[in-house]
Amino acid sequence: MEFLTEFPSLGRADLSAMRRWIDGNFREFTRATGEALEAFFNPLLKFLVWFEDLLQATPWPIILLVIGGLAWLGARDWKITIGSVVAFVLIGVFGMWEDTMSTLAIISVATILCIAIGIPIGILMSRSDRMQSIITPILDVMQTIPSFVYLIPVVMLLGIGKVPGLIAVCIYAIPPIVRLTNLGIRLVDADVMEAADAFGASPRQKLFGVQVPLALPNIFAGVNQTIMMALSMVVIASMIGVQGLGVPVLRAISNQYLALGLMNGLAIVALAIIFDRVSQTYGKRLQAYRTGRGND
């Protein structure tokens, strides 16, 4: 009877032996590879630090100008441009300029990294159904596993700091761009692909001349989502030593500072809205040819 009411689990001793075995092995692996890994990621760290310093050192009026310029280039819309600049002015007025620059730095670097890795993986995935069936479940796991769980091995391997934070952000933020690159390429009209084939296009000419350009709106939607997801990781990343808007939020949680939490939280939201609007309007402009607007 007891067999039915109590689940026949492994014994306590067995379980703890198993856990100790895994932990021990991983720790050994860490010890063996930690330094090599750190060396491997060193260029990334240098770049991130350099970029963050650059943002911090640049006088604020220039940053505002650049923000406004980028928003205009992306969206070609006055409302969005002015809105972005005003949001940054408010952020500065409320004393969050430095943290915002740090966050901006890590989000930008994370996004660049995700694009650089994610688009090739997405292309690979679109080339064969086998690849797709292998990569899809991995992406599913990356998106659903609680971030704290993969923080553990990342921190064990690389300690606390900017690089592990960056990696954690990327693990969480990369799936959409991979998925949407794959989807975008697979959705390219079969008739157009057939025409390219009929004219003797090589696989390369098909990929860069037809598939990628036609998938671009979808790829761009992926970039947009990747940025959003990276931003939503700001607070968690700050737990493992990433500077930025997440740090005061974390402090506010443990000390019950409502105003501090709210202000920094809103700053993150403002960044999210700006990124989203600018990249979405840009994405829409990319497909102007579909509706027949925008020649010459």
Binding site: A198, F199, G200, S202, G209, V210, T291, D296
Partner: protein, 340 residues
């Protein structure tokens, strides 16, 4: 017809769609038809023992109802589809034995294609679309631009170079498709229902453009259609497919005057025979010569009727293009031909 070179030769071609085409091929060779194959073995018979010689510099029309295998057949010529069995020879070279590189060169330099759904690149301007084949060939930009411009002008699209395909009407889009195919100077033009998506007036226009261009270009054109009027207007040779099999092949006269079976007779029953049938198709040989009035064998019945009616004995002699007598036609033959 005179002795001519064969440009494309299709030999005993079979195509079966399904999981294991090779396995069911013997059944098809033993005569199993399309419905039975689908019923019992769940394979679709696409092409069934088709052999066809396509002469150089002429328009070969391939006709058949929807699902008869026209698209499947034409896609074998540039090997967009692999056959289950059979050969395709282009200038005597077996397309099926070509390496990837050879095949790519064949598609780049020797053949080009026009599609029913246009297949234009929506993200590129009209001029870039027309240049596409040239870009693929590696022709440099200024040269490609120059050549593309020539064809844009020829198909009557001057002024639309910097529009996107999405900004053009269907007829204009297909002109882009035609210009793109012509720009590579390929000797063989494959056209899969190129005009079927267009409304009748535009379609007639496009046919005129094609005929006009062909008058000076003399390409080998394989033209797919399901429309008999179009086939009769364009086709110097017409091949008719049903359920993947070739059931008749010949010029317009033979198709209309001697339909191989009821399927074809059915096809041809709604056309205006007086405007299609030409005298040479009706002429009966006269061993003893003929000294009445003669007319050109290329004349259609519609025009010939009054002449025959006025002639003594209501009989005229028919001559070929060199003026040589090939036979005679009398009024009752002509009238019967109209109602057969």
């Amino acid at each position: 017809m005179t002795e001519e070179n064969i440009k494309v030769q299709i030999r005993n071609l079979y195509k079966i769609f399904g999981n294991n085409p090779k396995k069911v091929l013997p059944l098809v060779k033993d005569g199993m038809g399309k419905p039975e194959l689908l019923d019992k073995h769940n394979h679709v018979l696409g092409i069934q023992d088709v052999s066809l010689d396509i002469p150089e510099k002429r328009i070969q029309v391939i006709m058949g109802l929807s699902g008869s295998g026209k698209s499947t057949l034409i896609r074998h010529v540039n090997r967009l589809i692999e056959p289950t069995a059979g050969e395709i020879l282009v200038d005597g070279e077996d397309v099926m034995k070509m390496s990837d590189d050879q095949l790519r060169d064949l598609r780049r330099f020797k053949m080009s294609m026009v599609f029913q759904k246009f297949g234009l690149l929506p993200h590129r301007l009209v001029e870039e679309n027309v240049q596409y084949g040239l870009t693929i060939q590696g022709v440099d930009e200024s040269e490609a631009k120059k050549r593309a411009q020539h064809w844009i002008d020829r198909v009557g699209l001057s002024g639309y170079e910097r529009h996107y395909p999405g900004q053009l009407s269907g007829g204009m889009q297909q002109r882009v498709g035609l210009a793109r195919a012509l720009a590579t100077d390929a000797e063989i033009l494959l056209m899969d229902e190129a005009f079927s998506a267009l409304d009748p007036l535009i379609r007639f226009d496009m046919q005129s453009i094609l005929l006009e261009l062909q008058d000076e270009l003399h390409k080998t054109i394989i033209f797919i259609t399901h429309d008999l009027d179009e086939a009769l207007r364009l086709g110097e040779n017409i091949a008719i497919l049903r359920d993947g099999a070739l059931i008749q092949e010949g010029d317009a006269q033979e198709i209309v005057l001697k339909p191989a079976d009821d399927y074809i007779a059915d096809f041809t029953k709604d056309i205006n025979r007086a405007k299609v049938i030409r005298l040479y198709g009706l002429a009966t040989a006269t061993p003893n010569g003929f000294d009445g009035p003669t007319v050109d064998g290329d004349m259609v019945l519609d025009e010939a009727m009054p002449v025959i009616n006025e002639a003594p004995d209501r009989t005229v002699g028919v001559t070929d293009e060199t003026g040589k007598l090939i036979g005679t036609v009398d009024l009752s033959t002509a009238i019967r031909a109209l109602h057969a």
